[in-house]
Amino acid sequence: MRIVVQEAPFDYGAECDGFATGRTDVGAVVTFAGLVRTDADLDRMEIEHYPGMTESALTAIAEEAARRWSLQDVLVIHRVGPMRPGERIMMIATAAPHRRDAFEAAEYLMDYLKSRAPFWKKEHGPQGESWVEAKATDEDALSRW
């Protein structure tokens, strides 16, 4: 298990490649990448976090996923600080013997990371800046688990 919180960009391709290399007990790898998306005029996004709690919250979420599903590895990388549209904000990866475990664990990680890890997004555009509001659908997503 590897949990990383950093300002620097990460190499999504290399991380995916490393996750699906060199093991004969892994049958299924699922990865997710979250990108800075914009429908409109977004100049940049800024992500604030709670140093210390961020790492422990992500670790607790990943450990719970490893308890619930049969997983061989879990990776979470989340950036903080300023980012531009199209940049990668974060990624997760799961490795499991079977695809259902890899998929469900990945969705669980994303649902909890979204609403239970201390990150806050602020958008900066020509109309000024505003904090991204949490969506009711993201809170509702937790009731699946």
Binding site: G34, I47, E48, H49, Y50, G52, M53, S56, A57, H78, I89, M90, M110, L113, K114, S115, R116, A117, P118, F119, W120, K121, K122, W131, V132, E133, A134, E139
Partner: protein
């Protein structure tokens, strides 16, 4: 104890962190003390349903006890991912 503020809570109160001497028994008691201080605190804590709290870096509720707590943090609902 250390009291931390994040995102718009930090912006409304105007600082990221402060040392608070308190005998508050619960988070809610601490919130009442802070609101009584100044308008900017009162405004930041006006709608508790829009806020989340962590005690010693663990998410908890506003009725959580503060005995032995070293760090309390207030912030809006999280928006990671």
């Amino acid at each position: 104890m250390d009291v931390l503020y994040f995102a718009w809570v930090r912006e409304r109160i105007g600082l990221p962190k402060e040392r608070v001497e308190t005998d508050a028994a619960t988070v809610a008691d601490l919130v009442s003390e802070l609101r009584a201080r100044e308008d900017r605190y009162d405004a930041a804590f006006a709608d508790l349903s829009a806020l989340r709290v962590a005690v010693d870096q663990e998410l908890t509720d506003f009725d959580a006890p503060l005995a032995g707590a070293r760090e309390v943090a207030f912030f809006p609902p999280m928006t990671g991912g």
